[in-house]
Every structure is written in structure tokens, then in C-alpha cells.
Symmetry: C2
Subunit: 352 residues, 2 copies
DNA sequence: CTGTTAGCGCCTTCAA
DNA sequence: TTGAAGGCGCTAACAG
């Protein structure tokens, strides 16, 4: 391929100038006479010459490439973050590279080395092992990586690591959700998908439990480590078969909208009317959440805004060695029909 | 950042050998004595030295980076393709960069130049303008790009362009879908989302129409250029308000599952029972399609398989200048409940 | 087995 | 305003 790619030297020769001059016109350097510039431009156009950005990068010590590390681009949450981040990077002349890191995979030294060898200009981390609560060398690896390039994370702050950090306060979000259900008359509320394995999931659970206790209610927990639609179905089955219908919760808070997909389906399959017989709320406000039946009440967690903001900070961190900081925001409650908010309030919901 | 990055020269000096020797141990070259190798390795480890892959690339004339061009990574179809392609590339030591190209945006010379300047080792194109049916300089731009790097496309073949090409035969898929509905007793079937703007969408429409005519039925078309859930809602509204209920179609074939999301919702909102009052089928078999209500009968189009296969071909095309070829496959019918296949066949569906 | 030499393609002083 | 020279960090001959 690229059979006989011309170099800046070829162009210079043919234009009868020095390579330095060609370099100058290529980069729009001011000190070139209009005549010389035109002469060079002609040859450049003739061969559609494209300077080798790799060679340029070698000299200027940058790759104009940023890494994005996430567990699964097929998950709509990550897709949103990635998409917004890519667009922001592009606007600044950078390309993004995706590095997949499985949900349960540690960032090994080898993994970090890849990023270093590629001389990335920065790295954005989102989800996956970054969120692990387990003991690990995570802060150490990232601190080392950070000596080579700026890092920004989209997740609750990592203890022991100081870097730019942006996230949605999911605990606050879950509190909103619980309060909302409470105001609708619900007293027996279950949380589906509880897990302490990752911090962002742990935060949801914490927010739920805190608010329940605060309201004097007994939190009903249905733990699950995996939050797929299929697990949502199973979780409902387990939860509801553990008690007689009279003792069932009247509302279900699901750890995320993806899992809620399965919850809704299972509830339908059991012949329950939604939201009359059972209210359901989710979290993440995915593209499909307005189109479930019934449409899902959920939490907007600003995936795109955070992806773009994180990228902006990363770009900025390269120039100004800005001090690490944490930025957080409370999710917004999106009320649709699955919570039953539109039901006639004069017929109060059956209470515990 | 990267305060005082060591170079191979520093390592060589400290180890008391030549840079060439360091290079050799780094790349596992055989001709190095165990003793020297160990000596060098010690110094390498001491400084956690990472060779600059950019510099290496400059010499070896490769970037070990591949470009993936698609319109919207948030769309689950593209996310699947991208995800599988990334994984395949990674396994071969390559990174992938995402280049977004809006649905209706032409691949300009500038866009192609970016790829060339980055000295990508190959490019994969999927969806978007690549699929445009309009007159355009598309083959010209891509043919030029192809002089610099191998190209593989995932879409129906582009007239005037010769490159590796992988795709699912959507026309054949739609024929399957229509026949399936026909066998279930449906005679009035509408196609929602018809458009000739892109070839892959045009193929779906063509397959639908062909099979309807073949069966002696009158194809009912509801054209739409945009295939989002929201447009699905509107399309149903338009279609059904154009005729009295007695003349409504009994089945709807929707151009893709995303749009079907809105179709299902609107049908629910109108109080129709699904699939009894109206059968619905989609296309693409997205992750959510098994969890709609009712679960959607659809077509598997091998997004992941094709993403991985395309990447494999791209990698291979670099070494062996393999001749361009086209590979296609018929989508698989995925029967779920939205088509009514599980309904009691003894009570035949109301006929036209 | 190891070192020397010569660049990869570009940019950036420094002189002219 | 322009050119010459040196080097970014690495590897691939070619000697030894």
C-alpha cells in the first residue's frame, strides 16, 4: 500500500526550495513569501501530499491520540459516554482509541504499558474495574500511569488516587427515587440488583437503604451481581416467589434500566398490571426507557454531558497542569408511567 | 507529563551496551547472549523503560492503528459491530480509532486526508454515507483512500468501488419475514420505514415488496427516512389514521428494531392487543428485542460476526494483497411472540 | 554475539 | 525570508 509516498524532501526538491520552507508553508508559518508559498503549494497539491503525522508527533512529543478505557461499548451507558467524548476530542483535533477492559479485569502493568508505549496524550477511564471495591493495586497502577499522561475518571472517586474525576451522585439519585415512590403511597419497596462489587452500584444501594431507613421503612433487598435484562427476569422470580402475594413489595427500584427491561418482562409474564399492581423505577435513562411498557420512570445520569466534560478536562489538563478535582451532580428524576404517578391519587395505593 | 522519559540510548549507556543490543532484547531478537540480555533487562526494569512505539512505527512504516468509520456508536447495531471489531483488532496487537461520520455527511477529501496523515494501517467503513444511493464522488474518494491503506466495508457493495465487502442480505431477510407472516395467515402487511436513501434500507424495502408481489399481495408502504423509536410512533399514527380499522393491515414489518420500539408503544397506546390485533416484526435483533412486550420477532443480521470478520480481513489484506471480494449471508429469522406465531392456529387470523 | 552507522519523515534552531 | 544542520527515539543493515 501507499506505494511511493512522497516525503517533504521530494516536495522541496521539486519546488526548488528547502524542506524547512515546505514545512513552514504546511504549518502556516507566517514568515514565507506569498510567491514561495504558492510555488510550494502547487507541488503539494500536485501530489496531494500529506505530511506524516507520526513523524511530526515524534518530534513534538505528542500523538494527538487519547485513550478511552471501558468495559463494554455495547452497553448503552458506555456508548453514550464514548460517543460524546469522541466528538469533543475530534473538535480539538484529537482521535480516540478504545481500550476494552473487561468488567472484572484488573488494570495490569502490561495494560498500562500499552498506553504508555503508544504515547497517548491522555486517558479517560470509565466503569469496570475502576469501580471495584476490592483491595487492589489500582491506585498504584494509575498513579504510575499518571506520571506519563493525564488521567480523568468518570466514577466515584478512587480512594488513594488523585486525578480529575467526574460523576453523578447515584446515592442522591436513589434517595430521590425512593422519596418519589413514598410520596406516591408506596411503603414496601424492594431494591433489585444490590451489589457491593462496584462503587457506583454500591452507591445506588446505599442511597436506597439510607432513604428507606430515613423514612422509617424496611429496605427489601434482592442482590444480584450481574445487571442484564435476563438477570432482571430471574431476580423478580426469586423475589416474588419468596413471599405470598399479600406480602409482596408494591414497588421495585431496579439498579439500572437495562436490568429493568427484564423486570418488566417478567412482571408482564406473571400477569401483573403495571403500574397498578406493581410500580417499577430504573436508573440511567437509556434511549429505550421511554419506550418500555409502561414507559420507565428513571434517573438521568448525564452520560453524554459527563463524557464531553471529562474529555474537555483531559485536554485541558495537558496544557495547564491543573490540580485534580472532583465534580459531581445529582441525577434528575424522569417521571414516566411505570411508577404510577399518573394514576388517580384519590384511590390510594394499598398500604403495608 | 512524562517528565524525564528515558530513551533506548540511556538504557544502553547504563547497561554498557549499544542501543542496537537493547533494541534486540526488547524485541526478543534471538541473537543475544543470555548474560547480556539479563544485564540489559535489569536496567530496563529499573527504569520501567517503555520503548516509544511511535518512533518504531516511523521506521517500520506502520502505526498498528486501524480506523473505524461509522455514523453513530450509540446505535446498538453500530456498537455491536464496533465492539467485535475492536476485540478482533486487539487480539492482533492493533488499536482502533473511531471516526464518526454523520449519517448524511459525505466523506470529504479532508476527512480522507485525516486518515492518511495518521498513517492508519487500514480502515473499516460501516453505515452512513457509505450507503447513500445518491450520485456522489464516493467511489472516487474511497478509491483514492485505498491507494494508501486497505479498506473493508460492511454494507451492500458500493458500485464503482472494488474492496473487501461483507454484509447481510437484508432483501432475503425481509422476504423470509414476509413469508413467515403470510404463513401465519396475514394478507394485509405494511412496511414501516421505507426509504431509498440508503442502500441497506432500500434493500429491506425491496425484499419486502418483492415477496409481497410474489405472493400476490399488495404492499402497503409507510415511508420514513428516520428510523428512531419516536418516528415509529408517528409512523403508526399516520398509517392507521389513513384508513378505517376494518381496512387496517393485520401485520407490520418495521425497518428495524429501534423503530419498532416506538411502533409497539404507539400500538399499546391505541389500546390494541399484540399480537392478536396486530402482529409486528422488526429487523436487527438488538439486545432489547427479546424484552419488548410482546418480545419482538426479528432478523439476526450478524452484527458482531461481521464486525469481527471484517476486521480479520482488513488485517489480512495488509500482508497478502488479497483480491477484493464480497461475502454475504442471509439473516436468520428469530421467532418470538410479536408475530403471533404462538397463537392458536385453529382460530385463523381475520383475512382481507 | 555485538557495535557502528545510517536513516524513518519531520521540525526547529541558527545563520545567512 | 530562506537554507543548512541536527535530532526526535528507534531499528536494520552491515561489519567485526
Amino acid at each position: 500500500m501507499a506505494a511511493e509516498t512522497k516525503t517533504i524532501l521530494d516536495i522541496a526538491r521539486e519546488a526548488g526550495v528547502s524542506p524547512a520552507t515546505v514545512s513552514r508553508v504546511l504549518s502556516g508559518h507566517p514568515n514565507v513569501s506569498a510567491k514561495t508559498s504558492a510555488k510550494v503549494q502547487t507541488v503539494v497539491d500536485k501530489y496531494r501530499f500529506k505530511p506524516n503525522s507520526i513523524a511530526r508527533g515524534l518530534l513534538q512529543k505528542h500523538s494527538k491520540a487519547l485513550g478511552i478505557i471501558m468495559p463494554d461499548i455495547k452497553h448503552p451507558y458506555y456508548a453514550s459516554v464514548f460517543s460524546a467524548a469522541q466528538e469533543e476530542a475530534r473538535r480539538h483535533g484529537y482521535v480516540v482509541q478504545l481500550y476494552r477492559l473487561a468488567y472484572n479485569a484488573m488494570i495490569t502493568d502490561d495494560f498500562a504499558n500499552q498506553l504508555i508505549e503508544r504515547r497517548l496524550d491522555g486517558v479517560m477511564l470509565c466503569g469496570g474495574f475502576i469501580e471495584s471495591t476490592g483491595l487492589s493495586g489500582l491506585p498504584a497502577v494509575l498513579t504510575r500511569l499518571q506520571q506519563y499522561m493525564p488521567i480523568v475518571t468518570i466514577c466515584p472517586p478512587i480512594p488513594g488516587l488523585s486525578c480529575i474525576n467526574i460523576y453523578a451522585d447515584l446515592a442522591a439519585g436513589l434517595r430521590k427515587l425512593v422519596r418519589h415512590l413514598y410520596n406516591l403511597g408506596h411503603r414496601r419497596i424492594a431494591f433489585i440488583g444490590a451489589t457491593a462489587e462496584t462503587r457506583s452500584m454500591g452507591e445506588r444501594e446505599q442511597g436506597f437503604t439510607d432513604e428507606m431507613l430515613h423514612l422509617g421503612l424496611d429496605p427489601i433487598m434482592q442482590p444480584e451481581n450481574i445487571h442484564t435484562p435476563a438477570m432482571g427476569e430471574q431476580a423478580v422470580l426469586k423475589l416474588l416467589s419468596a413471599a405470598p402475594p399479600a406480602e409482596w413489595p408494591t414497588a421495585l427500584a431496579v439498579v439500572n434500566d437495562l436490568m429493568a427491561l427484564g423486570v418488566l418482562r417478567q412482571l408482564h409474564a406473571m400477569g401483573l398490571r403495571l403500574p397498578e399492581d406493581m410500580a417499577v423505577v430504573g436508573c440511567d435513562n437509556q434511549f429505550f426507557s421511554a419506550f418500555t411498557s409502561p414507559p420507565l420512570t428513571t434517573l438521568d445520569v448525564y452520560s453524554e454531558e459527563h463524557g464531553a466534560a471529562a474529555m474537555r478536562q483531559l485536554l485541558q489538563a495537558q496544557e495547564t497542569h491543573a490540580a485534580p478535582f472532583t465534580q459531581t451532580r445529582d441525577p434528575t428524576l424522569i417521571v414516566r408511567e411505570s411508577c404510577g404517578a399518573q394514576l388517580d391519587r384519590r384511590t390510594p395505593h394499598p398500604q403495608a
